[in-house]
């Protein structure tokens, strides 16, 4: 080897070392960092961090996630002190929109590209009732599902009489938001008993004392106070965590027969045929479903936060979590059929994903075969201002405690003791809302709508 060649070899080796060191530094996140606050802990946190890891690998931006069930309190405190996280994920668009226009509050996502494919319903949700996009839908859930023990039901339950003598799994404890599982019950009953009243009530244009709402509460009370209708009785239901109640469908010494729970319960049930799933009993068309979503908003307008939100909205990122969870987590984005079939492999996953995406399921049950006859409505308690949502949760707990103490679910008592105070709280919240001139906190026209029509989100 000549001296000249040796010099070239040394130069090449040096270049390789420098490049390797540079790449290593990039991999460590030398394009900055972004902090994320959210509500997910445990397995959900692990799975969401896998999405963030993919982001970190792709853009070399370090993403640090902090999960807590007290996300509302932590975020409010951080914003008040002037040190919010770069990105926060909340399950309530109503709460997220309270941070618009305040110091260190929610920042507009104007100019952040949205490459995800999702329908106008989800697009409206991301606007948070304003004219600008403020949020990105990280994941979605289909509500109004009835999970049932197949040994206790010879066929999928379709009417309320099918549940006679079969105890419901019921758990209201979800501290610090105990009571929310009950709000899903009231919302679903109202949505199916008085579909026209639901958007008006959810948006604040009509109050709690209207007959349709009172009727929904009363129907729920009648259902729960029947002999043996609730596993362990209402006192036990009040103290039982909703996750433990979900698990009681398949395990435990005090089993139950049916569980009214959202699609996230799927993660706890094996696909061995012991558990079945059916829609909320309602034979009318179009079929209505309640849906919810976790929304990410930007609190510090940095290039890293913008890049993360752009990534979270993309079809690429939206596929990661459903894939890692074996199809038990759902996206609001619509994927091509070939992609869907690789993510959602078993029947339930495919059926639920089809309803959320507004597609006809293949070889599925009737409830997912007709997307043209399907309407999705957002979870009303998630659209309400936080003070109203909190009052709703507490009204649920108070109602069940009263029923447990033997108080009858009379319409007059309900109006006086619960609906009246809820109306007062709602009126106060409306006075403080940016939409108070319209006497609403949300546009009722965007509460419900057909699911995806396949159009782009932008």
């Amino acid at each position: 080897m000549t001296i000249h060649m040796r010099q070239w070899v040394r130069a090449a080796a040096l270049t390789a070392v420098v490049l390797t060191a540079g790449l290593g530094a990039c991999a460590a996140g030398d394009n900055g960092s972004v902090s994320v606050l959210g509500t997910w802990t445990g397995d959900e946190q692990t799975q969401f961090e896998q999405v963030l890891n993919a982001f970190q690998t792709k853009y070399h931006i370090k993403a640090t996630y902090t999960g807590t069930r007290a996300v509302s309190q932590v975020l409010a405190s951080a914003v008040q002190r002037g040190f919010p996280p770069d990105v926060a994920v909340l399950s309530s668009p109503g709460e997220l929109r309270t941070y618009i226009g305040i110091s260190h509050g929610l920042q507009s996502l104007a100019g952040v590209p949205d490459d995800g494919t999702r329908g106008p319903l989800w697009h409206n949700l991301q606007m948070l009732g304003s004219s600008t996009r403020y949020a990105v839908t990280v994941k979605a859930d289909l509500k109004g599902l009835i999970w049932y023990d197949t040994k206790r039901f010879t066929s999928p339950p379709a009417t309320w009489s099918d549940f006679t003598g079969k105890p419901w799994c019921l758990g209201m404890e979800a501290t610090p938001a105990s009571g929310w599982p009950g709000t899903d019950w009231v919302e679903d009953l109202l949505l199916h008993m008085a579909p026209d009243a639901y958007p008006q009530w959810a948006s604040g244009t009509q109050g709690w004392s209207q007959d349709a709402v009172v009727q929904a509460w009363q129907s729920w009370g009648d259902l729960l106070t029947k002999q043996g209708a609730v596993r362990g009785g209402l006192g036990t239901a009040l103290l039982t965590n909703f996750g433990d109640a979900d698990a009681a469908l398949t395990t435990g010494s005090l089993p139950c027969a049916a569980n009214h729970q959202a699609s996230f319960a799927l993660a706890g049930y094996a696909t061995d045929g012991k558990v079945g799933v059916a829609p909320f009993p309602d034979a009318t068309k179009p079929r209505r479903w309640e849906v919810s979503a976790d929304l990410a908003g930007m609190f510090n307008d940095t290039p890293q936060a913008r890049k993360l939100l752009q990534y979270l909205a993309s079809d690429e990122a939206q596929q990661i979590w459903p894939q890692r969870s074996d199809g038990t987590v759902f996206s609001a984005n619509t994927f091509p059929d070939a992609t869907e079939s690789t993510i959602y492999k078993d029947g339930w996953s495919r059926d639920i994903a089809a309803v959320l995406a507004g597609r006809a399921c293949k070889d599925g049950p009737d409830w997912c075969m007709h997307p043209d006859q399907t309407v999705l409505c957002f979870d009303a308690s998630d659209l309400m201002p936080p003070t109203v949502t909190g009052a709703f949760y507490r009204a649920i707990v108070a109602y069940l405690t009263g029923l447990d103490s033997g108080q009858p679910a009379l319409s007059a008592d309900l109006k006086k003791n619960l609906m009246g105070p809820l109306d007062t709280v709602s009126q106060a919240a409306l006075m403080n809302d940016s939409n108070k001139k319209q006497h609403q906190w949300w546009n009722p026209a965007t509460v419900c709508g057909p699911s995806s029509n396949g159009t782009g989100g932008t």
Partner: protein, 365 residues
Amino acid sequence: MTRRAPTRVTLRRLLIALVGVTAAVLAASVSAGVALHGTATDFHARSAPSIVDVLAARGALVEADAAAACSFATGGAKVAGPGEQYQNQISVANQSLAQVAEHNIAGDLASQQIQLIDGLLAAYTGLIEQADATYRGNAPLGAVYLWYASWLLHDPGTGIFHDLDVLYDDESAALNEQLRSGGTSRWWTVAWTVPCLILLALMVLTQIYLRRRFRRRWNAPVASATVLLLALVGMMASLSYDGQQVTQAWQTDNTAATVWKAQQNVTASDVLTGPMPAMLGCTPSTSAAACPAASSFGALNSGGCDGQQVALSGGDDLRRADALAAGAADTTLDQALVLAVALAIAALVVLGLLPRIEEYRYRPR
């Protein structure tokens, strides 16, 4: 055949070696003293307070929860709400958390953890207020909110105690690292011991050489320097011992705190036989899965409302370690003494060897 170095050259070499190693002894001893001072000061000013405050916050919340549960269970809540003891202990918990935030040694992750605990604590006090607000008119509803509040503390996966334990572990890990790599590290003992031993060996060799070459029993200045060196070794050993005592006291306390925390984790059976579940119709005949919340009701069962004071342990040895660290941090006099002794050693060595070197100034050997 090897040729011996001339005496003057050997003496000069010995002098240079002795002065050089004395300088090394001085540098190593002062560095060890400075490192110990730094670690002990950090321990006294930040590390120990941060950990004591995490334990204090935890203890205060255990007491607050038990006090609130007692107030509701005995009916006192109808006039006194959750009670003065509850208010006092919540105040202690808040102040302790503020102190942890100020003294935090575990970095950003611990800061985030403190924020999470603050958020959960706000939710906890909100639930107790809700229990208080509803209890007067609707005792079962008040009891439900008390249960929710207590569960928020005790939930094994995401409760406040769990988050406080994570914070404790973060602060402990940071302290362990500080003690392992700081001035209390055994490597610092090695760092000053090795040059001292070399200097001692050189001094002995010098004495032997001088005795053979000059037919004198002792070189008094070098012997005095040796005595001073032994005194310096004693002084440094005492400092190192203090550092090790700090580490040992902390380790003892860490073990005690772990045991104490485990004692606070009541079991489902404690809960099922408590007074509140009975008020809600959740009795021992109900399955444990149906009443999963573990709470301060367990503390009530063991001590009853008369003896609701929860014995606070953990932190005693840490306070002893803190006192030791405060002593170890005060090394100004020690370092001045080390400097003086080392300079005296150097001066005595020069005083002992220079006249002998001078004797050979005009001789070939």
